[in-house]
Symmetry: D2
Subunit: 342 residues, 4 copies
Amino acid sequence: MIHRIAILGASGYTGAELVRLIATHPQMRITALSGDRKAGMAMREVFPFLRHLDLPPLQRIEEIDFSQVDLCFCALPHATSQAVIATLPRDLRIVDLSADFRLRDPAAYERWYGKPHAAPDLQAEAVYGLTEFYRPQIAAARLVAGTGCNAATGQYALRPLIAAGVIDLDRIVIDLKAGVSGAGRSLKENLLHAELSEGTHAYSPGGTHRHLGEFDQEFSLVAGRPVAVQFTPHLSPMNRGILATVYVDGDPARVHEVLFETYAREPFLEVLPFGALPSTRDIRGSNFCHIGVVGDRVPGRALVVAVLDNLTKGSSGQAIQNANLMLGIDETTGLMLAPVFP
Amino acid sequence: MIHRIAILGASGYTGAELVRLIATHPQMRITALSGDRKAGMAMREVFPFLRHLDLPPLQRIEEIDFSQVDLCFCALPHATSQAVIATLPRDLRIVDLSADFRLRDPAAYERWYGKPHAAPDLQAEAVYGLTEFYRPQIAAARLVAGTGCNAATGQYALRPLIAAGVIDLDRIVIDLKAGVSGAGRSLKENLLHAELSEGTHAYSPGGTHRHLGEFDQEFSLVAGRPVAVQFTPHLSPMNRGILATVYVDGDPARVHEVLFETYAREPFLEVLPFGALPSTRDIRGSNFCHIGVVGDRVPGRALVVAVLDNLTKGSSGQAIQNANLMLGIDETTGLMLAPVFP
Amino acid sequence: MIHRIAILGASGYTGAELVRLIATHPQMRITALSGDRKAGMAMREVFPFLRHLDLPPLQRIEEIDFSQVDLCFCALPHATSQAVIATLPRDLRIVDLSADFRLRDPAAYERWYGKPHAAPDLQAEAVYGLTEFYRPQIAAARLVAGTGCNAATGQYALRPLIAAGVIDLDRIVIDLKAGVSGAGRSLKENLLHAELSEGTHAYSPGGTHRHLGEFDQEFSLVAGRPVAVQFTPHLSPMNRGILATVYVDGDPARVHEVLFETYAREPFLEVLPFGALPSTRDIRGSNFCHIGVVGDRVPGRALVVAVLDNLTKGSSGQAIQNANLMLGIDETTGLMLAPVFP
Amino acid sequence: MIHRIAILGASGYTGAELVRLIATHPQMRITALSGDRKAGMAMREVFPFLRHLDLPPLQRIEEIDFSQVDLCFCALPHATSQAVIATLPRDLRIVDLSADFRLRDPAAYERWYGKPHAAPDLQAEAVYGLTEFYRPQIAAARLVAGTGCNAATGQYALRPLIAAGVIDLDRIVIDLKAGVSGAGRSLKENLLHAELSEGTHAYSPGGTHRHLGEFDQEFSLVAGRPVAVQFTPHLSPMNRGILATVYVDGDPARVHEVLFETYAREPFLEVLPFGALPSTRDIRGSNFCHIGVVGDRVPGRALVVAVLDNLTKGSSGQAIQNANLMLGIDETTGLMLAPVFP
């Protein structure tokens, strides 16, 4: 059975990545695309890399007949997403890739995003989309909120450790290095090739990055008490990929064991042998997440290093994985593409 | 039906790219891998990006039972390939990715490669693997010689024009910009990140690059007279991708028309609208080749710009396309992966 | 003696490069800086790499007391420059880095830039700033027009050959690869790291790039007859550097000899031994231009490859070289900085 | 007065960087260069970026007349350096850039480098070359040991804080991102452009990197008790530059204040305003180190971020700064080159 798919916000990187992945998905067919200021254009004009595909043209959202859509991906900007989704049919299955429905608590949303939520009823309905930890809820959900790409990376490294009680909850440092595509197709000076290609730098440091809202919500839930990690993202001169170096207080062998056992049967999560370290070059363009664990020379401390592709496992790949669940399809369908190396 | 595949020389980039593509090919299964000095190792040790796959370990070639192999890809170094293939069963279907069987004329081989061919009988048997122009021969072949990646790019731009007689055969300049993965996983100073990342330079200039042997052979064959193009390859600070800027004397509109018509029904060759130009960013990781044509302000002169991914359409993707034909499978099977952008 | 320097348009890349070079120039001191929309800011806020320097704040142009300025660099955008310079004191020495005064013929200016020149009297007064070929005129000039960076590169390769009559004037192809800083600090999608880092592409092809106006003017002047070259610039995934591959009809040995002799005593122009090729990595951040010559296998054809740093020899370094001449300082003062490699 | 300089090991990156910097140093002249396997070659053959300089040819070390040398830089590989320096005249001033004389304790040397020191008497004589903290000793020294580039970065961030007693000595994490030139011109797979350009990864994690020997020695000395930091270096896809993100327990305002005051009069150390963060793009090719401090949302915790160019302030620039002191020259001579941006 082929499911009819709409993508709203198809003119950004996550929208384009959805199209890339669905292009070889055997049970999805794109029947509608929206693209804000680019309505009327063909996708091949906006994204020449898609020119071999027979795709519908970019439309305005209000032109789409949602009665002919089985599932809708929303790759719209933050804040726009909640306004748009509030206008869509209430029985339409939606996977949202924005930040709008990630935080369950309206007060937390307001604190991190600076204004009240415009669709609090939808916010209550949304299921947090970290697939491996919310499978049954996602399968039953109408509205799934894709996670932040940094938030996903940190959680893959930490959730099992917090759940198992093997690390000190007050001593967690996440030092993260992210490729530039995570910033989207936005025109900013620090994203220019001339500025970034030799310009590693930290940003949103010291507890100001919005993905901390997700860390706080999820880690506190898992721990059953408030958990506040330290989190410093850095921009690294590469396109795709996130590498999170996580410093924890805990027994390194036990840390490895917990992660290894938790993910032993997961199709997309690969825990390396103890002492081996992952690289962003090994997951590019794929839905895989590689995790390594090393012991520090300081006894009782360990490093967990996790890598994933921000556009795939961190965003559009995750979205399709969730959509597969929602549509009753095998979860890995269309997502077993091997990474592109070199 | 699933065909059993062996890959010799699986520890290099083209070998790894074959594994990447076959990983989602519905009618091929890898049953044997050889890897020279890395025999005994698992592929995930040599190429961690493949660690999610269940693959046979790297063996020595002599350990492989070729009676259990339906088709063998040879991704061995030049010169090694001819020696190895000479020892393989004479009824084994082989797609060779080296330079060893590209030139039909033993004298030409000796001139370009500096020594006599070690397997002249096989050389005579081999079919040149530029799929779109040798389909029936490839489908019937036992041994197919994959083209040079630069040679493929230049031919896609020029063959139809030479065949149609619309350009001056004595005035052809191919200025080519190639990503570094085309040089393989070789340890050379100019391939180091520190040296290449801001270091565009020409190499093998003035008629010394070996792929000229292929241009000479094929273009002269098509033209029915000797054709000697000018060809200057450059190393560009990127990983994948070749962009060939081809300067020809001919009517630009007619040049576009000939290319457009020649490739109108080809699944992997996309001729852009007249005046539009392709970019390497739009074909990365895929088997597509994009071609653009522009007229010069000097009347009667045109530019043809062709891009493809050297490891895919220029090498391993082409090899699988040829193997599909040899096995009687639909030619595009496993190869419709969309490019990875950004 | 220390000369007092003003820089108009100091908030762009060429303005910043002027500051970088003057920082260690023993006979220049920056006494005024203008920066359009950033007036009131300190340079260290706009360009943190300059934070160790004691610089005047960015002002509005009208706030500058030009009676206290010995020489003024104009690094303003095209079109803005002519309007601003028309308002400056008529006895102020000016080196303009924009395109506004490069073309002597008002009709040519209008053709290439799409509108009439706003200061035709100044246009008549301006001297073309290709130092090595206009030394006496520059030394005596009040207003010098810096060349285009691509235009400089092509001219270093070709002017001596045209002057010596050793190449066919109707068969000149300039295939140029340029780093991204040449496009300035402009916010465009194709300059984003995510789009460019693996995205080599041609732009302004077929005779549409404005630097052709300079080629036409200068080459025709040198030849004493109209010369129309073919010119295709490409954007290459690097920050600094231009590599021009120039295809000519002429005797390779003679081509090399003419270039070698012409530049034998030039401090910044290095002609490599016959057959050797330059790389952009070897001139980065410096005022040097390296030139190589190779013979093609097609008899009577040669390749000339020239490299320079677009921001230095192609723009701000050239500007200071010209300013040195105008101020009666040794031409190389402050410009002998070695390239930065790797 | 011009001092006569020899450089041993001039065919590596740090040797080349010494030549680059001395090229515009007004009081040093290179009179001898050694280059191991490249003896007999001209520097312009080994490093074409230096081709404008008039340099002595590469010799064997034993061919150099050290009686005509005022100061010798040793840029030889680790272990080689101690063997060579033991054979040099005992009154020759030497700045060593290798790791051989950084650790004062022979047992510590043996532990980190895996074999006994071959010149323990010289080891005792050597002064640790972190200029700002060892000025009088360096000025009086005959043999100065340049620091590790990572070790310098971490110490600039931490030494004043440890000395002032404002941070918890048992809770220090140094997460470091380094450009690839720090690995030298070595031919290793992970340094290839194809592997590194999208391949951020950690290396020598968990307390195994040799620069920890320096951290331990120096921090313990300053603290007056053993200090063992956590240190994880990462390779980042850039050529030059190190960014160290240092996590400390301490009052952020006090941390900033201590750093600001300690470095207030230092010519090369720039402490940014509280809350501002540095980038590697802003120190490339220069001898400057930028340091930023941010408070974390977790009370009592702070981030210190330090950047420098590994080849300049982290190695060859530092070496010249030390040599200036040893020769009685102003410490900043030849080192005020502005960073190269973009």
